[in-house]
Symmetry: D3
Subunit: 256 residues, 6 copies
């Protein structure tokens, strides 16, 4: 039972070298029976290259949901919204009829909670915190959160000087363990990939890479769906819009 | 010190008779020094005519934020996002530099909490509840919520047979008071306008009309801004995106 | 539709110069159609001149409720209990039949929550905190509270050396923004009036004056009451005592 | 080490037969070395005879605190505020310098929590619930509360027809056990004394009499104070007002 | 990278036919590279055959932890504690040095939360609820729990009359969806295996089998451990006892 | 009505000098009609001498429950589980039919909450905190907890150099009062006995000795049981296992 998985970058290509590394990491840890693709939202260079402002998120959302809808139709079993804000996670599950949708934040916290009582999230900037904290509360992990700690780097800065980034991250992560009683560290941006292993060895606590975690979770949920029929519930808040409204309001292009 | 206020209908015109009534209600209760306009998002008939699905909300969001941005530039002091989901409230405050933005849900709950210990929200359909409940929690009113009660009517149904609507609403509201210990009733859809006064007299508890409440709150906040300089904070999560990114990523049209 | 509003100082006159300033501030920002009065509880010099101890609060409560009852009968539309402890707010709403009653803490937090995700309250002394914190929880704003910060000044000290007060308040407020992630500052004592504007300009975040906020909120709720009939609910815990008990137990003087 | 304990009825004598029974119950279960007295607040017939309205509570508070202060000076080791609202509990502990003060609600819930995971409180009227619920939250027992259930009897009704009262209470208590998962029952009014034992035998769960529980808790805390010096903390919110203010503001009579 | 997984039945063999079915189910859904074994705690017929009483749980705990310790030494990558109480989950993670330990309740809720906003747990008897509810709170899912619903069957009853069991479960599950707003159903006993698929098809919501869910989660975590080194944190509360104490106190047999 | 009370040391004798002191303290403060004994779990030197690891707790649990069962049969009215982890408290209440069981943590927090709004717990090591915090939450005192503070001493270290211990404890307790707003201090290990009085005098806040507090609480609950029949509820989660299962599964020795 093959698994077909799509990683959605929710903005146009911003840093192709980074994306290549990301592809390598994921290809290096996928199952043999997993078919894996990456897609951008917005194919040319028009559009935000990071989502640090709410406005940017909202701007890309319709096109991203359209991509989700396409992926669902094309037979993907699972897709990942490639941003730790988990933007549009609920809506994406809403429009997807058969495919499961994974958010890096939700899946990383899910996993982290099995490794320790409390986790800390290392973010780039202080301004990311309110929205992420709202997600922590929404997912139910408020009591499991030891702290947010910021490293004062923007999304596009993490791989500029990797040695310096590693040092800053290590320092903040150590403080999280020593002073905030964190037992697990979550790297709170998908662009922080590549740093978890050294960090983990140095600190002696699990460090969750938020690219690997949602990808493996996607493989896991894809298998559960294929084997046991488990996927997003369609009662109550969940469920796709009715087709007749889509046609009546001239939304075919946006929806399909 | 005049107040300039904009009511934003976050979708194309759907029911012009209803909108005319809405205009009359608001014009009938505005201050003498209030200048009041109404605007649609999406001027032609293309686009969702209600927002009962997450997908519809996300679809209208970019154009709605654009409208917010325009209103801010055109000198409006306050604008209201005309839907009880308060969609995009945080983002709208993010992009608005000087104008305050009001959500019907937030402002109605704010007011309701001064009238009683617990309020109930009457919704149209069960599927509205999860998102609204998430808002209740986010705004801090979880302990103040007595219950959600549904009347099994869609957004566009409330004014089809007003007598029947009044009867159904009255029954559910009475149950909320008698069995859920509600002391205040909130009509959880802006399309439920026009029913509050009879209901209030019959039940003997305050019934909050969610068109009037945000409109008057907008006048109130507009005055506070004009007189005391109080408006949305721009530290931490709040703040507009930097202009150079808007130009670099070719987003002038979407933003301004 | 005129609005008649009463500011109740819940103790005898303590600092007439301060009260004159307070009157000027409020007269300077009232609506043209607002009639505004100030009243003391305890007319001679007998009685506590501040309410920093629970005992003092309880001591003035019966006379304050009597004043509320009188104001209700005299046709005031709204009254404000002039102390950030919001003492007797629930009881006052209980005995008031037609007039709405406003507390500085409740109304300031209500307003602050529309300007940012988290607010900090600047108090005079550490010992004020437990009771105020209980109010924050009761009103539902626990998750919106960034911190309490104390400036080590008593109620009667704020205007002794205004320059020094301004400096201390500014320092603590800045710490609240920088270290506690406050996005809005609330000045947690009605005697801290007069400082908000400079503070606000210096810090770049909204600073809520707790004299202005409840006064304008009173005007707002007075209008809502006059126009829409919205006032305190009388079901469940809310409601006035029965007249026959008042007479039977010889409480006419205390009540009316 | 003798224990001197005072039961304070926070209103004038209302039902002398009932009070005699109460005295008998407490005298029948006191320790040999316990000296026990009962006192009323308001000696003549003037004043509320029950405290079902907030206004009544606030009215008796100053005189009750005066009684507390007197009892403290007269060498009582512990006093009980004889009403399940625990009115003025915090203030009473504030003004008491050496004597511990016990509230029926707080002490009954303390004890109940050692007997089961969840308790239900049987109240007379629905309107008692909001204030009692606020106490439950304040004391920390929100998650331990199974339910409030009302029996539709006023404070002065419980002993009018004891057989009927017993029957109603038993029915509601049984529903609390069967439908609300209560494991312990608390009789939420001091006037519900005398019913616990039969009820307990019939239901097979502990039923807490809220006259006995606070009385025995008072003996317990009196001994702890006499032996180990444990009494109300005087740091932070707790602590007596300074003597110089009491004299300066002419409050000797009210305070001492 | 093979995965070696152990299912621990935390009591002696009780129903061999059932265990055979369980083995078939798990063997039918394991990965090709998964080696899978089942072990009992207590090899003869001595010992509790279900764990419905706290006493039974505590009785089997030392031997179960011994089994965990053994499995860890024998090179298992993951083990599952085969009971929805998740008994000893924290201790098991404590003594395990390299192997990850999975609890059916924790892993089932983890998965369920990705499929819907709220889940209901179907239990056998009312008396199971308090402990399970404590787990729900401890894991952070209190706000995600729609309800517990009981079917009035003991652990050993589920497979006595499977048709009747299916019918009862279906009824309660439907009520959970209709009245409690559950979007996902969790079968709250490992002995409820075999019923999920029909139930799921009938109700149209995901139904989590609590034998399959933890087993697949174990495979998932085993892979994460083998590939990325992610396993239980050893700082703070987590960590194995020091060897010198084990020897000094003569606990070699119990520990190794 | 005599009271028969048992202090259970949940491990073999570890430090006889300390135990003698403990006995003296308790004998020095017991009632005249209290008969008091101490018992160890594991009579020889085999077994853990402290319970700092979950594994040690689980190891002693069956024998401890057996001791509880014996004590219940031997006519003890109350027993105390002599460890601040309150290990097995729920199970012990489950198997005990007539005797009440007291935990040092639960009873100390119960008492502390009557003396102040917030308490801090002084622990030996950081690793004790997660489990104790879970208890704080379970008992309902999360909002009453000011902080945990650690003194970096193991269970067996407190009485090695009492002067140094006193100094360290005093420093941390003072910080708890000054910086964490603690109003009461709880010494979070039964081996911290003997230090409370000096500490209390120096700090001016109540300091709860966690040997004296549960012992006096046991006397208190024993009297309540003897006089009023109040003891652990047997509905829902509470209740003893059925005798026929005990016999059928050959558990007589473990149970009786």
């Amino acid at each position: 039972m093959n698994k077909k998985i799509l990683w959605i970058v929710p903005h146009p290509p911003a840093d192709e070298e980074s994306d290549r590394q990301l592809l390598n990491i994921l290809n290096g840890c996928k199952h043999a029976d997993t078919q894996f693709d990456m897609a951008y939202v917005g194919d040319d260079k028009k559009g935000p290259q990071h989502l640090e402002y709410h406005f940017y998120e909202d701007l890309v959302l319709p096109a991203m949901l359209n991509k989700i809808k396409d992926a669902d139709k094309e037979g993907y079993n699972a897709s990942i919204i490639g941003c730790f804000y988990d933007l549009g996670l609920k809506s994406a599950r809403d429009v997807s009829e058969d495919m499961v949708v994974i958010g890096p934040a939700e899946s990383s916290m899910n996993i982290a909670c099995t490794y320790g009582h409390r986790f800390s999230i290392l973010v780039g900037r202080k301004k990311w915190i309110p929205q992420m904290e709202n997600n922590v509360v929404k997912y139910g992990y408020k009591e499991r959160l030891a702290s947010f700690r910021k490293v004062d780097l923007g999304v596009l800065d993490f791989h500029q000087d990797e040695e310096r980034t590693a040092e800053i991250i290590t320092n903040e992560a150590r403080s999280a363990v020593d002073y905030d009683s964190a037992e697990v560290i979550i790297l709170g941006c998908t662009r922080q990939f590549g740093f978890y292993r050294t960090l983990q060895e140095e600190l002696g606590v699990p460090v969750i890479d938020t690219v690997i975690a949602p990808f493996k979770y996607a493989e896991f949920l894809a298998e559960l769906k294929n084997r046991f029929g488990w996927k997003h519930s369609e009662v109550n808040g969940y469920g796709s819009p009715p087709r007749e409204e889509i046609f009546k309001w001239d939304l075919e292009k946006e929806y399909f």
